[in-house]
């Protein structure tokens, strides 16, 4: 059988494969920065401490690219961009910060969103990649610039709850002092901003795993997930401020794992509930 002549503007590689190469280069480079390869023990510990919602989002990007139009060929522009991004990924690997890869992931996400034409799978992959780069790069930058303001907002919520439940706990700024001398000061890791960021990523990833288009209800789901995350974090901070033993249990003991698992499960359930096909039919 005679092979048809390819037009000049079309490369020999498929568009799906070209985009998969870019996504894998970006995600693999991001993954290296999240995993400690110093020793086997450190590697295992870093695996255990992973944010599995992040990995779910990575899977969704690859999955959506993989089921995108198999017949579409990459244009020369596609190939040039793919190679340029791969070369930039290499040069940015000398930079031991997430920013470089995150910036490239954002650019790639916009390319997927705009260059896909009518391919909704590519748009879905672009949306999730954008959420991933926001969670890894842009969110932390915003957080660094506004940490005290965000912590004050969290402290205000905790202070209001404690004022009704434990009026004997005094609250000043982002610090709480219990009568027995037990005191806590909120720091960056205590902020619900991190939980909200994860909630957004979970809602985007689960929605785009189940389907390829946004519906109005997704924003309500997002709002509910973020609210639940803020409330759970407020509850956690109240427990930490409650007393010394309570702090030890919920911060360093089994309680920390229980809360971590509960938060992940809650956000995934909300995201799935919001994105489930039966809800759309209803």
């Amino acid at each position: 059988m005679e092979r048809p002549e390819l037009p000049a503007a079309v490369a020999s590689i498929g568009r799906r494969e070209a985009y998969l190469w870019v996504a894998i280069c970006l995600l693999a480079n991001q993954a290296v920065q999240l995993i400690d390869t110093g020793s086997l023990q450190a590697f295992a510990a870093s695996l255990a401490a992973q944010n599995y919602i992040y990995w779910l989002a990575c899977y969704v990007v690859v999955y959506r690219l993989n089921v995108s139009d198999k017949a579409a060929r990459a244009t020369r522009l596609d190939v040039c961009l793919v190679l340029a991004i791969c070369v930039l990924v290499f040069f940015l690997s000398f930079l031991p910060y997430r920013f470089g890869t995150g910036l490239l992931a954002t650019v790639t996400a916009f390319y997927f969103l705009t260059a896909g034409g009518g391919d909704r799978n590519l748009k879905a992959a672009g949306g999730v990649l954008l959420a991933l780069s926001t969670q890894l790069v842009w969110g932390p930058i915003v957080f660094q610039l506004f940490t005290p303001e965000l912590l004050r907002a969290d402290a205000a919520l905790v202070g209001e709850v404690l004022a009704s439940l434990r009026p004997d706990i005094s609250w000043q700024g982002a610090s709480f002092l219990a009568p027995g001398g037990h005191a806590i000061a909120l720091i960056g890791g205590c902020s619900s901003f991190n939980n909200v960021s994860t909630a957004v990523l979970a809602c985007v990833a689960v929605a785009m795993l189940i389907r390829t288009e946004w519906v109005g209800r997704d924003f309500a789901t997002l709002l509910i997930a973020c609210t639940v995350m803020i409330l759970v974090n407020t509850l956690r901070l109240c427990l930490l401020a409650w007393s010394g033993p309570s702090h030890d249990y919920w911060h360093d003991g089994d309680g920390a794992q229980i809360l971590g698992i509960a938060q992940s499960m809650a956000v995934l359930l909300i995201a799935w509930w919001g994105a489930a096909p039966w809800r759309r039919a209803a």
Binding site: A18, N29, T37, G38, S93, Q144, R152, G173, A185
Partner: protein, 183 residues
């Protein structure tokens, strides 16, 4: 372009970037591990001839990182609190100082009378970029210092805090640690 060439280039970029990134991350991690801001602050204070005072607060309390020292010309002790540049340090500082204490913030080349998070962030970004090319004299860590002193304390000499972040300190420390094996 040939399919095999495109695949080879992408694969090469993938493998090379991961190899370089693993190495870059390890180097950075080693640098961060070596960076002990408390010890660096204590060294700088000693180099200026001031006596260190013991901190009554012990780890893991947050305030255990405060470094106290005595200037001979001042009645009360002065203190240095290392903190992350994006953290709000004033509430913490208020727990170890009186409200009338004078505060000065230091981070690499910069010095401020008020906590200036954005300026410090750009200072960090500048040296983080320079560090990629090996041109940064400082370790690009996000730890700044706040110096608190009594209002009646008028020191004769100002302390240059920049050596706290200078790279040569850590290179010398590493060489020193490896030194005995060669003698």
């Amino acid at each position: 372009m040939n399919k095999a060439v495109i695949r080879s280039l992408c694969l090469l970029a993938l493998i090379a970037s991961i190899a370089v990134r693993v190495q870059a991350s390890r180097t950075r991690e080693a640098m961060m591990t070596d960076f002990d801001v408390g010890a660096a602050v204590a060294d700088v204070i000693r180099q200026h001839g001031y006596a260190l005072r013991e901190n009554p607060v012990k780890p893991p309390k947050v305030l255990s990182v405060v470094v106290y020292f005595q200037r001979p010309e001042c009645e009360q002790v002065s203190l240095v609190l290392p903190y992350f540049i994006n953290a709000e340090t004033l509430p913490l500082l208020a727990r170890v100082t009186r409200p009338d204490f004078e505060r000065h913030f230091f981070y690499m080349d910069g010095a401020w009378d008020e906590q200036s998070r954005v300026s410090m962030f750009f200072e960090w970004a500048k040296y983080a970029v320079l560090d990629i090319f090996g041109a940064s004299r400082y370790v690009p860590v996000k730890k700044a210092l706040v110096l608190a002193e009594a209002p009646d304390c008028h020191p004769a000499a100002t302390i240059d805090w920049r050596p706290v972040w200078e790279k040569y300190r850590y290179r010398n420390a590493s060489n020193g640690a490896a030194g005995p094996a060669g003698t």
